[in-house]
Every structure is written in C-alpha cells, then in structure tokens.
Amino acid sequence: MVRLTPYVEIDGETITVIVPRAEMGQGVQTTLAALVAEEMDLDWGSFSVAHGAPSRSYANGALLVAGLPFAAYRETRLTRWAAGAMRVTGRLMGMQITGGSTSTRDAYLRMRRAGAAARAMLVAAAARRLGQPPETLRTQDGAVVAPDGTRLPYAALAAAAAKQRPPRRPRLKPSRDWRLLGRALPRPDMADKVHGRTRYAGDIRAEGMLFATVRMCPHFGGTLRGVDAGPALAIPGVVKVVEIGAGVGVIARDTWTAMRAARALAPDWGPASGPADTDAAFGAIAAAFDRRPTVTLGRRGDVEAALGAEKPIEAEYRVPYLAHATMEPMTATALYGDGRLTLWAGTQAPLLARERAARAVGLKPRDVTLHVTPMGGGFGRRAEFDFSDQAARLARAVPGRPVCLAWSRAEDMSHDFYRPAMIARLRGQAGASGPAALSLDIAGPSVLAEQARRVVGYVPPGPDKMLLEGAFDQPYAIADFRARGYRADIGIPVGSWRSVGYSHNTFFLESFLDEIAAAAGLDPVEMRLNLMRGESARAAKVLERAAEIAGWGTPPPPGHARGVAFCWSFGAPTAQVVEICRTEAGIRLERLCCAMDVGRALDPGIVEAQIVSGALFGLSAAIYGEITLAGGAVEQANFDSSRELRLGQLPAIETCILQSGGKPAGVGEPATPPAAPALANALFALTGERHRRLPLHHAVRFA
C-alpha cells in the first residue's frame, strides 16, 4: 500500500480516498471524497472511500471558528485573526470532530489541496518515466495521459509518485472545469444501505461474540450503591453482570436476554444531584435571571432608555429539553485482550473516543484500535463517549470475547445529553418600521460549558456564544439592542443537538419579531426585509426567494395561513415559510418552502436532502418533542410517549438553493432553527393565538 497524502492511498489497483469525517447520514463522505477526486481526475465510482484511522492531522478547524462570539455575516479582520488563533488551539487539542456543520467548510480547501498534491506527484512520476516535461501531461479518469495518447494508470505510477515531494501549494482546478463538484452524485454508501448491508457499530459479528446492554442510574448525577446480580444470573444465557460507574451492564449470549436480565435487576441507586421534576428544572432556570448575566452580546444603542420611553411589548417563551432519538440507539462493539482494545463505534469524535476508552480500561491510546463505523443518526449525540467507554469496560470483563453493546430505546431516551430547556424574556418597542428597540434575556444550561468540561476538562475562557447564538447575531438593523445570557447549571446533562443554540434562540427571536410586526400592523416579511436590507443583501435575497415560492404576496386559500422565519447559522442564511390549514382532524402541515444560500453547493442533491431533513427535524421537535422529569427520572421511554411526525403528516416541501459564491456553508443544521417559529407564526396567523411554549401539541391538535 502506498500513501500519497494523508488522504490518498493506492493499493495495487485500488485507489482509496480517506475521508476523516464520520458518516451520520449527511452525505459528508460523498462530498469530501468528491473534493479529492475532482482534483485528481478520478472517475466517480472508480475508487473506494474509507474513514481512516483517528489522527491529529485531520483536526477540524472550522468547528472552533464557529464557536467564536461574532456574527457570522460580519467578518472583520479581528474575527479572522481570532479564527486563525482558534484553529491552532483546535489542532493542539486534536479535535477530529464531525459536527457544527463544519465538515465541508473545513475540508473545502484541505481536501482539494490533498487531491491536487497527489495528482502533481503522479504527474511528476509519469514525467520521469516518459522523459517528458510535466506541463505537457494531462490527467483523465485515473491516468496520466501523454500528448501522444499514452496512458499511465495511477496504480502503475503509485510507487514512484510516493517518492516525489508533495508540492506545498498545488494549483487547484478553477471551478469552471469541475466535473464532479456542483453535481448531484450518487452516494457510494447508498446501495449498501438500501440492501441492508451497511454495518453499524451494533452489527459487527464475530466468532464467540457476546451481547450486552446497560442500565444506568435513572437519576441524573446519581450513583450505584450496589446490585444483587442474582435475578439476572438466574436467566439462562446470562454470562456476567458488571458494575460500570453509575450503572450496571449485563453480558449474555444474545441482546434480548441481556435486556431482559437488565430489567430483572433491582439496583440500589445512590443519591442524585439532578432536579426532582420538570417544574424544579424550570424553576432553577428562571432563578438564573436574578443573577448577573453570564454573557452580553450584540449591544447597540441604549436599550433600557429606549424601552423605558413607552410601555414595551413583553413576552416570556419556553422550550423543553429534547432528546436526539437517533434511529439507532447507542451501540458499540469491543474486544479486549493481551493489553489491547479493539473498538467499533459510530463516533463523531474518534480521537477523543479512543483516548477516553483507553483511559476507561487503563490502556494507552496507542493500544486501542478504533474502527469508526457508519452511524444510525448522530445529530450531536454521537459526539459523546459514554457508550464507547461502556463497551470497552464490558469487554474487559470478558477478555478474548467480542462484546456487542446495544442500548434499549428506553435507555437511549433517558440517558441522553439533551438539548437544554430554556426560558427567554423578551422586551421590544415597536416603531413605524418594526422593532425600534429589542432586549432578549435568555436563561438555561450552557452546552459550551458542560461539553467543554466533559471533553477537555475545563471551560474555555471567553464569552459563551452558544447561549446566545441566533439571538444576537442576526442581520437585523435594530437601533437599540442587547442580548443577555444567564447560565443555569441544572444537573441534567446537555449536549449538542442539531443547530445547538440556534435551535431555541431562533424560536424566541423570530416569534417575537412576529409579535412586534402584529403589534405595529406590519407584514412580517416586509418588516424583516426592511431590517435586513442595509445589513446583508444575501439575507434579504434569501427571504425574498422563500416568500416568492410560498406565494406570500397572494392571500392563502380559506382555512389556510402562512408563517415565516429566518435564521443565519453555520454560514447559511435560511428562510422558511410554513403553510398550514384547518381540517376536521386538526391542523395540517400543508407546505414548507425553504430558501438557503449555501455559498456554493458542492452537491445539490445532498444539500436538498439536508434542507428537507433539517426542516422536518425542527418541525417534529416543535410539535411533539419534549423530555420531562418525574421522580428525578425521565418520563419518556419510547416512541409512544415521545412522538415523531409520520409520513402522512409531512408537508410538501419546496427548496430553493442559492449560491452567492465563496466557500460552501454547512448544510446539516441551518434548516432546523426556522421551522419552529415559522410554524408558530403560521398558527398565529390562522388562529390569532400566540404560542410561546413548545411542544405545540399540548395546545394545538395536529392532523
């Protein structure tokens, strides 16, 4: 096997493109592989794609940049400097993380350079062999071609090419010559997925395999005092009961037996630190408003004076905790023995997962081989390490036997790192053309603080942008403005949930703007456009397009109504119009029109799929999503108490992908934030009732 760059390997006839980002379904492997293949002039389908081993050279710089407290639509010299500094830190911390819709943005240059470097090395090798200057050679379909038509396939040049020095700044193809990028390519993972051949981490099978499940303390921050293994061991097929931290694992000859045995146990749970119920959690969040703000961002003018001039419009909004509910509950497979650990896990952060698993079983990271498998959904959940650590510990209990760990759905719903519940207190002053003053006070748990503490052991200095993203950084010219965040440590684990802070703050801001529009008698689209035009022509264009395809200018049919929302997140300004209608069975989702400016669509088919996916994820959560607590434990255990939109309930979706040029934006998340406020605003338009709490199904009957 010959390696030309960290991203290109040639083994005999087989060319492999290494894509060091995890496939959660978002098509990232397809797009990243296309970046390399484009520069190398590889034929689509003529090479294989692999995730590659965990490595620091694959660290994700864009993820850290996205964490900076600047509005993305205003890039200044300062933000660029800070971005550069953060990138370095990220490399040091070795974060090879798939998340924050950053994969494509991070890889856009890097992967093309890798492909171009590999191509240059192959051409140099061919030039030597043919005794011709490299400028006279061209590349086509996986071969170097000489002026006389002689073809030297890459495979035949690989060994010689590997001896060439990789060029530092290889020349990149101009985009007008692209053959793969900018087209909807068939995904290389598609056929396997359709035929059920894809092996997720829970589908690894090996000789002598055992199957396991876990039952962790149902109370957050709780412990395990002890457990009588007897009732589990009495079930035929149970091999071992293992205490692992704040819970118990059961190893058996099949998953069903392990799950039954785990239920049969009566563990003695120790005291917990989390709240007793949902009311207590919201009470503690509300109490944060009485303290000093943790972070203030976007301050302009004198908001207090402006709000004091007349009685302001005031409202309080609330959103619940949300589970990720990936279709595949947490799984991981591990084999321990002879001082080594082999781990198969669908992880969004392989370097850290390997390090954690090593620590969990007392090994060095270099003694751990991690195979990153495809994931049955990620949405941020698989950026955590609990499940891979557990698999490692369970495997250590039965050395030499591979252990396949599968969580039950109930375990998955009740032991997530949730999207935090949040409360927003908003005040605004309506002027002739919209909000003259706006103050957003937002309280809730800090994803940044908790995730950083879990991942790197400390909270990085600097403002907590995630608490306020979506609230302070939108392209609206409002003279007197301020967003304040109040961090509340509640004791329910929180983590990244598709679009993170935008997922709640967009609901607050975009619903409240709708309230102001209604109070001032303004059209919600016109009002936003007026606020936007001076700030960002890109944003205004996106909103205009969404309104246009939704037919905003023409009144909806009787019994129908429309709502609009906008959000600029992950580099992609996005606008949505949701149309609903009244039916005998309840409110029906009729249509969702979404316009998104992605900068450059590297694969329009995948971008479209992600827009639809993100919007439906947001709608499903807005209508049904919630995690509640009683007796210190999560009440939802399965898809009956936690519902999802079904096929027959989905709206017709129309998308419009705008490409204003420049770098490609992240597309996995930006369609999620506007869905909830667009729907809530449509409900207001239809019924005159303002919905300030999610999920909506408590107050509205949906068909």
Binding site: R187, G196, M259, L616, N638
Partner: protein, 148 residues
Amino acid sequence: MQITVNGTRHRVDADPAMPLLWVLRDVLGLTGTKYGCGTGLCGACTVHVAGRAVAACQLPVGKVSAEVTTIEGLAAGPVQDAWIAHQVAQCGYCQPGHVMAAAALLARTDSPTDAEIDAAMAGHICRCGTGPRIRAAIHHAARQLREG
C-alpha cells in the same frame, strides 16, 4: 425449533419467546433487520412473513410458522432500484424497514395512492427526514412495476 429464512431452513436453539428480530440478528447473524424500539412503534425491524410486512420485534420466534424474508433475502428489484434512483437513504438505519414495507405494499398493488402509502408507512419512523423521497421512490417503483 426450525424456521425458514430467505429460503434456508435453520435449526434454532433459542427460547421460543425470543422475538424473531433477535434470532435474526444475534443467532443467525442477519443484521440488516434493525432494532429501533422493540415495541412495534418504529418499523425498523420489518420483515416479511408469508409475504406480509411484520414487526420482527413483536413476533416470538416460536410463533413463526411461515417463511421469513429479510432485507438480505428480498429479491433485488424495482423497489431497491427506485430507492437508489432517488438517493433516499441518509443514515440508512430505518431504510431496510421502509424498503420491506414498500415491497409488501407493492406486492399487493402496483398503483398505490398517497393514502395507501401513508397507511403502509404509518408504523415507520425516519429521524433523518427521508419521508418525501420515500414517497417519490414508492411511486417510481410502482410505475416500473406497471410498465413491466
């Protein structure tokens, strides 16, 4: 106990109460059939028993009296082709269940209405939001079937 899966007869040494899902996955190593809920709520475990779509997590293996077909054994045909043509799958985890349900539906009718598709898919969840492409793929496959 004996069951026939994808045309092969297997002797299975398992508790007859064990759901077919886990016999397929853990005993026979047929991992294309997925666990999503274990309670008949998500459709990820859908297989065919005597040609009908059934939730394998709800069927004790001891009660299986007819031939079982899983995604691995489903004859390649217009359904999978349509799924590939429409590039339906994202994470893919729900897709074997959806494909099996669609194949069972299209075996009953080659011109399903949207309402019939909704009904056939009502027991299925896709967290990746592939629903619109699933519908398009079913119509596409139906067209292929009608046109032969």
